[in-house]
Every structure is written in C-alpha cells, then in structure tokens.
C-alpha cells in the first residue's frame, strides 16, 4: 500500500536525521521525502511517501509521532488529497527531434526553460505517474539528466495540518 504521510516538525538541526534514521533503523522504506520550512519559520513541513502493509503503516505513524521533534502528523492517503511533484529534465536535441520534444512538453503542460544548440531543459509538474509518462514518451536514450523534487502533498477541502 502506498501512503503519503505529512509531518510538521520543529525546524531544528537534526530533526531530519531523526526521521531518516527512524526509517533506516526500522527497515521502513522511503519512496520520497521532501522537506522545507513553512510560513512559521519554527516549523518544517515534510512529506514522506512510503509503502507497507496496514500494520507497518500504523507502526510508522506511531513511531514518527513518538519523535520529540514531530509536532503533528497526518496520513494524507486517508482522505481526499492532492499530490504534486516537480521535475527538471534535460534532453539532448537534434534537428530531427526538437519539434517533437517541444510538442510533447506542451501536451504534458511542461515548459522549456533553457535551450542550447544541443539541449532542451523542461520543467514539468504533476503526479509521479505523469512525470513517469513524460519520461517514457521522450525515451530514455535522449535524456541527459532528470531531477525530481519528490512528492509534496496537501489535503483537499478544509482539512489542514497546522498547530
């Protein structure tokens, strides 16, 4: 089962390593992890994407809650939510493929943000699936570099994670 867990944690040195250390010590898997400060500079917001049986997810949330630096936690996958990931992708171009890549990036609502004689760099935002699909469509052979932000998520509607 894939789960997206959102955390508010103290914006303090070491808080990130406590979370990362918990996952490695207990053998939980992390598909992605993003973290940055919030509008309240004393708090960071973290989004973790993980996989596991129901029992494991229950343990993960309990163990995270037990960390002193974790202020609040929400399993976004328990309700309606929105997830987004941003990708920067550098693609090798030739006279033959430039047009195709431009068209593809339009279809995926990406933007070409940097151009050289032999490369395009495209910015693309969406769910992980959409980013995967774009990579497939471009074809691995032409990709020089991809950078993905990892998933950020937020609950739909009035539900929100704040203190």
């Amino acid at each position: 089962m894939r789960r997206i867990i959102s955390l508010l944690l103290e914006n303090e040195a070491g808080a990130l390593s406590r979370v990362a250390g918990l996952f490695s010590a207990r053998g939980y898997n992390i598909e992605s992890l993003t973290v940055a400060p919030t509008e309240d500079p004393s708090l960071s917001r973290m989004t973790i994407v993980t996989r596991g049986s129901e029992e494991i997810i229950e343990q993960i949330t309990k163990q995270l809650n037990k960390l002193i630096d974790v202020v609040k936690l929400m399993d976004l996958t328990e309700g309606g939510h929105i997830e987004r990931e941003m990708m920067l992708i550098k693609i090798g171009t030739t006279d033959g493929n430039r047009e195709d890549i431009k068209r593809l990036s339009d279809i995926f609502r990406g933007r070409v943000i940097d151009v050289t004689g032999s490369t395009y760099t495209v910015e693309l935002t969406g769910t992980g699936d959409k980013l995967d699909a774009f990579i497939e469509a471009v074809g691995r052979a032409q990709i020089l570099e991809t950078v993905r932000s990892g998933v950020s998520g937020i609950a739909r509607g009035e539900k929100s994670l704040h203190i």
């Binding site: 070491g14 343990q59 809650n65 002193i68």
Partner: protein
C-alpha cells in the same frame, strides 16, 4: 549574578534534586569538574570505565525510580558510554547523560577527541540535545529531565561544548517546561477501560501477563489488588518480576523462553489475555504465529507504538498503567457482574495440573554445586528481601527463576539489550541508593570480567556488594545453545586462563571466597552477609554442564517447551 555554564550545570542538577552523578573526567568537561570539585551537595562517583558509569546510574534509577545521571567527556568518553545508554534505552530507564564536546567553533573539524555525540547516540536515546549557547543551558537540562522521566521513560543526552561551560549568563532554573510537540498520554480512554473490565469478567480461562511497565509505572500495588480481587492467574516477564509477589499462589512464575511450564501453557490456553505494561517481546511470545491462539487480548501501555506492534490486540488502552489499573479496580468494585466461578475453578484445576510437573526441579544428587541451589540458598539466607542485580547468561535466567521477588525494583537486570558487564556497576548504583540493604550481584565468570575494574570503585566508596559468581568455566548460555543446536561443537564458549578470583578480590581490597562443595554454599553466603561493611566476592565452582530448563526452542510455540 552571572554564572559560568559549569556552575549553572551544577546548580541545575542540585535544583533538580540530583543526589549522585556517575562520571569520569576529561579535557572537554574540565570546567564542569572544576565546578563539581568546589561544592559537596552533589556527590560525584568516580567509576573506572564510562560503561560502568552508565550502568551504575541505570541501577540507581531502576532501584529508586529517580533518574540516573551520567557525566562523561567527549570522544572516547562518550563512545565508552554508548553500551550503557543503549542498555537503558531498551529497558526504558530514565537517565540523563551529559557529554563533553569540543568547543563550538571546532565542531565538525575532526578536532582532538571529537565525535558526533548527538549522531552516535540518536538511535539509542529517547531524545538528545546539543547546547550551543549558555543561555539555553538551564532550560535544556530541565527539558532533558522532563523527557527522561515522563511518558515511556528513557535516556536523554545533553551534549555540552567546552566553551559553553565557560560562558557566563544569569541563572534561573525553570520550575517546569512545556514542549509543544511532546504531550505524553496519562489517562486511559474511559470507554476502552469499561470494555476491558467487561471482557475480563466474562473470561472463562483468563490470564494476566505483566511486564516492566508495571515496575517503571509504580503500579505493583493496584496490579496486586486487581489480580487478587479477580482471583486470576498471573505471570511476569523477565522485566516485570516483582510486579506481583512471587510467593503468592496466584503467581505462575515467569513466562517466555525460560519461563515456567504452567505460565506458558496458561498463556497458550487462555481465552482472555490481560497484558499490562508488557511489549510482546520475541523472547516472550515464542513463534508469533502460534501465540495465544484462542485469546482475546487487552493491552495497557503508555507507549502507543507498543500496541499492536507484534501481536494484534482487541482492546488497546494507552495510558499510565497505574491510573488505568486504579480506574479498572473502581469499576470492578461497582460491577454486578462476577467472574464465572465454575469456569475459573476448572481453569485453576488445569493450571495446577501443569504446575504439578514441577518444571523447575533439578538434580540434587551429583555432589557438584548446582547453580540453582546457590540461588535457592541466597533466597533463604536473605529472606527474599535482597536487591539482586545480574549479568547476562544462564545465571541470569536461574536468578529470575529461583529468586522469588515479592517487591518491585528489587530485580535489576538488562532484559532488552542483554548486556554482559551490567551486573556489578548496576549493583553500585543500587547500593548507593540503599546503603542499608543487601545488594547481591549474580554473575558468571564471563560477564564479571567485562566490568571487573569497578571493584576498585567499590573500594573507594565502600560499597559492600555481595558478588555471587556462578563459575562454570564456560560462556554457559552460548555453550547450552551449541549443545542443543550445533551438535555440541563448543566453539569459543569455554573460559580458560581465568584469574584466581579470590586473589583478585583481595588485591582490590575486598574479601574473596572460593566455594567448591554443596555443603559449603549456605555457610559461605551466611558469612558473606555477616561481613556487613565488606564487598565479598564468592566464587562458586558449579556444575559445568548444567542447562537452563525449561526452554522454548526457536520457532516453537509457548505450548512446545522442552522440559528436563
């Protein structure tokens, strides 16, 4: 008036009510040692190895319920302490460890005696802090004690860079602290508690299983009252011994890998299992697939993550065991529902049948000293009222099986981490806390050598510990597994080139005795107890081939014990 960080440190500990600091000096903590040396309310115990400091503080905490306090220097001082910190962490023992650190401007520079103290200890503490500004020192210390002592207790480390202990600021110790991200639950959910009482009363084959949480949560009294009111059978884990009086007829002994036949069979056969402050450890459950197949389970624990971690429970209750048990007791008194008398009688009949196997019997005809016999005699001679610490191995299991603990905080052992070397330094902490009581350290010739240097500390502080060395010339527990599961290939489990323990004890200024005949066991113990102010090292030469029985082999269920 402005004080230095070092003076603030001393004042904080005094204001926190700390009695003893167990420690060892070094460069990074010299300012602190200078401040410590200029006062005498706070007593410092100079150990001979930092591992000893942590175990001693740990023993003190287990015996008193107050936090143990440790002070070590940076680098090797802290790394030497890690084993003891991890030991305390696994058993949820409240402890605050202060480690020296290189000055803040050198952190990260591979400076002399620098290690990442916060990083190294992170997986084995409840929380840790690095103090970068003397202005944060007093509040951080307060927070450290608060976190260590509340919720599921545990060790907290405070890392103190040397320059911070020299900087000055105004001192005031906060009366209390709040931490927005830390609010341990105390009171259990009333609805769940009601449901639990109802289920308990409807049981036909009930079983109560309690662990270290009862000891740590000071809940032996309500537990005993509740158990007696119900008339149900009860078992304790290794960590929970003393939570219910061992001499009571409702007590079935310890459960688990080396638990009694009756306790394990009753666990396997029960229809309602009432788990209190216990965590369904693998040494207790045996094969989890076969665990309590017919039971509905109620579980009280202060730590939500202990609930449904290994075994799915039906009625979870998060809260202090003490308050929850008292609430249950009140409900029970008001309840019209009573346990089914006939069903309970039939269940006791069955249990007494299992009991009649007398699973702890052992051969008494061999002419060799049986380790079990030594422990039985220790129990008799001390009238079951000693504080007993132990190391790790066969002797630990025998102590747990044959010394019946009637009171909490009397049985002091490393259950979770299983740390050899724990027994002697832990006994120092216990003896300091209880100077008038008998403190016995049950150990083996393997374990005792892991912290033997503390014999010197015992002399300096006049700690009259009675060391019971069950000397089988083997790493007995290893040998036992090799006998059973490796076709008697005894690889590296013999212990040769042993010191003459009598001379060793004497050279440290203590009394040594060597006991080789069963008839000498009791007189030796009596004599040792008579030597009131002296540490006595009793080297019992025991039957080399004795094994711990009964036993649940790996992969088996609680109903598949090997009996002698």
């Amino acid at each position: 008036m402005e004080l230095t960080g070092a003076d603030i440190f001393v004042r904080c500990l005094r204001d926190e009510g700390v009695e003893y600091v167990f420690g060892y000096p070094g460069g990074a903590v010299l300012h602190i040692y200078d401040a410590l040396g200029q006062q005498d309310t706070l007593k410092h115990i100079l150990v001979r190895h930092e591992q000893g400091a942590t175990h001693a503080a740990d023993g003190y905490a287990r015996a008193t319920g107050r936090p143990g306090v440790v002070l070590v220097t940076s680098g090797p001082g802290l790394t030497n302490a890690v084993t003891g910190i991890a030991t305390a962490y696994m058993d949820s023992i409240p402890m605050v460890i202060f480690s020296g650190q290189v000055p803040t401007h050198l952190i990260g520079n591979d400076a002399f005696q620098e290690v990442d103290n916060v990083g190294i200890t992170r997986p084995c503490v409840k929380h840790n802090f690095l103090v970068k500004d003397v202005k944060d020192l007093a509040t951080t210390i307060k927070k450290a004690f608060y976190i260590a002592m509340t919720g599921r207790q545990g060790p907290v480390l405070v890392d103190l860079p040397k320059d911070v202990t020299a900087q000055k600021t105004e001192y005031s110790y906060p009366k209390q602290v709040t931490i927005r991200s830390y609010n341990p639950t105390v009171k259990g959910h009333t609805g769940q508690i009601k449901k639990a009482v109802k289920l308990l009363l409807s049981a036909r084959r009930p079983m109560i299983y309690t662990g270290g949480g009862v000891i740590l949560g000071n809940a032996a009294e309500p537990l005993t009252e509740l158990t007696r009111a119900l008339g149900y059978p009860i078992t304790n884990t290794l960590m929970g011994l003393g939570g219910y009086p061992a001499s009571d007829k409702q007590f079935l002994g310890m459960l688990g890998m080396h638990g009694t036949y009756e306790a394990n069979m009753a666990m396997h056969g029960c229809d309602v299992l009432f788990a209190v402050g216990a965590r369904f450890d693998d040494r207790v459950t045996g094969n989890i697939e076969k665990f309590c197949p017919t039971a509905k389970i109620i579980h009280i624990d202060i730590d939500p993550s202990s609930i449904s971690k290994n075994v799915k429970v039906d009625i979870p209750i998060v809260g202090c065991v003490d308050t929850v048990l008292r609430e249950m007791l009140a409900l029970l008194k008001d309840s019209k529902q009573k346990p089914d008398h006939d069903a309970l009688q039939a269940w006791w009949h069955q249990i007494n049948d299992w009991r009649s196997k007398d699973c702890l019997k052992f051969d008494t005809t061999s002419g060799l000293i049986k380790p079990q016999y030594v422990l039985q005699k220790l129990y008799e001679v001390t009238r079951g009222d000693a504080f007993v610490t132990s190391d790790v191995g066969q002797h630990q299991m025998w102590a747990a099986q044959y010394y019946g603990f009637d009171k909490p905080r009397r049985w002091i052992n490393s259950g979770g981490l299983g740390t050899m070397g724990f027994g002697l330094p832990a006994a120092m902490g216990v003896q300091l806390a209880h100077p008038q009581d008998i403190v016995a350290c049950v150990t083996g010739e393997g374990s005792i050598q892991m912290c033997i240097q503390e014999l010197s500390t015992c002399l300096q502080y006049q700690l009259p510990i009675k060391i019971i060395n069950l000397n089988n010339r083997y790493l007995g527990m290893v040998r036992q597994w090799q006998e059973f599961f490796y076709e008697k290939r005894y690889s590296m489990s013999y212990m040769e080139s042993l010191p003459d323990f009598v001379k060793l004890a004497e050279s440290y200024g203590h009394v040594g005795m060597k006991i080789e005949k069963p008839a000498d066991v009791e007189p030796a113990l009596k004599e040792a107890i008579k030597l009131k102010g002296r540490l006595v090292f009793m080297d019992f030469i025991t039957d080399q081939n004795e094994n711990v029985f009964p036993m649940i082999p790996a992969g088996a269920g609680l109903n598949e014990m090997i009996l002698l």
